[in-house]
Subunit: 250 residues, 2 copies
């Protein structure tokens, strides 16, 4: 198994930020400057075309580290951020841009490309989690959450279905086509974000993915607005959700 190597470290506003690699996969670990010993861990995935350091990622990470006292890890998805694109990546991105320019539905392309990426990304997340839990400050057996919307839901749903160490997850903003089946095997608490006026994802399709989770505790947060108008306060809701489910009993 690949172990985790730290490659850089900075610190600001009570948050320590460390770049790392696990094998070929680069990531960022955000931890509280103090009291991070055996803190709960949140794995955070980025959306399509973004990367581990996108402003939304750093913002949510800081919110969870300072608000919950947890540690947050992100990695670049295959073909994203500091990772090379394959000819297949280039081909699918070109198909998406063509569809967008022609005003054709993006869903069929995004669904199949994200499903392809998830096949590679799920074992990468599992190897990253293995390596993170080898760190003495994290350790094995502690609470682990997953937070990922858009493409990170396409990766996170099969990941959470396969990975019993993940015990709570925030998902959302995706089609049900390839995800309803793994979702039906998920029983951990779920918070699910949906945009009520999403121009890409049909409302009933979005609701169908929420419906598919077998979880006894699951909450849908549906907000007025289009695909990219998810309100910022949902990051606070996610932090409250993780606090509720990952905080060890006193």
């Amino acid at each position: 198994m690949d172990s985790l190597r730290f490659t850089a470290e900075t610190s600001s506003n009570g948050v320590v930020e460390r770049d790392f690699t696990v094998g070929e996969v680069p990531g960022v670990l955000w931890s509280p400057a103090s009291g991070s010993e055996h803190a709960p861990l949140v794995l955070m995935g980025h959306g399509g075309g973004r990367d581990k350091r996108a402003p939304g990622m750093a913002g949510r990470a800081h919110r969870i580290v300072t608000g919950c006292g947890f540690t947050v890890a992100t990695i670049d998805a295959p073909g994203h951020g500091d990772r090379p694109r394959t000819p297949h990546d280039e081909q699918e991105i070109a198909a998406l841009l063509r569809a967008r320019a022609a005003g054709e539905p993006e869903g069929p392309i995004v669904v199949r490309y994200n499903a392809h990426l998830a096949e590679q990304a799920v074992p990468e997340w599992q190897a990253t989690l293995d390596a993170l839990q080898e760190l003495p400050e994290i350790g094995a057996g502690g609470p682990v959450g997953y937070f990922g919307l858009n493409m990170a839901t396409a990766i996170g749903v099969p990941l959470a279905a396969a990975e019993p160490r993940i015990t709570a997850a925030v998902f959302g903003l995706h089609w049900p086509d390839r995800l309803a089946e793994p979702a039906s095997r998920i029983t951990i608490p779920i918070e699910f974000d949906l945009q009520w006026h999403d121009q890409h994802i049909d409302r009933q399709a979005g609701l169908a993915l929420f419906d598919a989770f077998a979880s006894k505790e699951k909450t849908l947060h549906a907000n007025a607005g289009t695909h990219k108008e998810l309100p910022r306060f949902e990051a606070d809701c996610a932090a409250h959700f993780f606090t509720r489910h990952l905080t060890p009993p006193a």
Copy 2:
């Protein structure tokens, strides 16, 4: 206009609790023991068959007073709590109990009875708000929210449609039949609770009421579970919602 008369006062855990009447209508006012001067005000309605002092009311009131520093007012709905029942109330309650015993749908009876109660309750809430804003500690022009589920949504939706002083509201758990029209005239921020496996309110009917609000900012919180299984953490979500919308700019 009827002015507000305080009839009793107790205090516990930093919360002052005062019984009051406005005309024939009895209510309870919960305020922070200190710093309540011109605090935002949340009007809180109770569900059918309950009253101003139901445990859920007191619990939510304490949560909002201590968590947000706001003042909370509840009143008994017509025919509820300390208020007399009319022959019409008795008749409708008997009809509801018969339907329940026979396993018949409760919706049609609850919808028509709640609409009837709302006709009386809306002006009562407005008179109560007039009287509350006459108190020097509350004053006129401050932020006002409304929090009410079930029957308190049947009363609160026409109230918020008629009352421009209410600037944010939490509703939920009701049929759209009589409420979609007033909801379509409401533009203030809304949080809306729905139970995903509600045995009384059809899922599409519940979603239709959320859809009806004209608000640019509205959030649906749909939780797994039956009608009475609304999770307790939704009271925290409501408190965060009111903090976001009623806290005056610093």
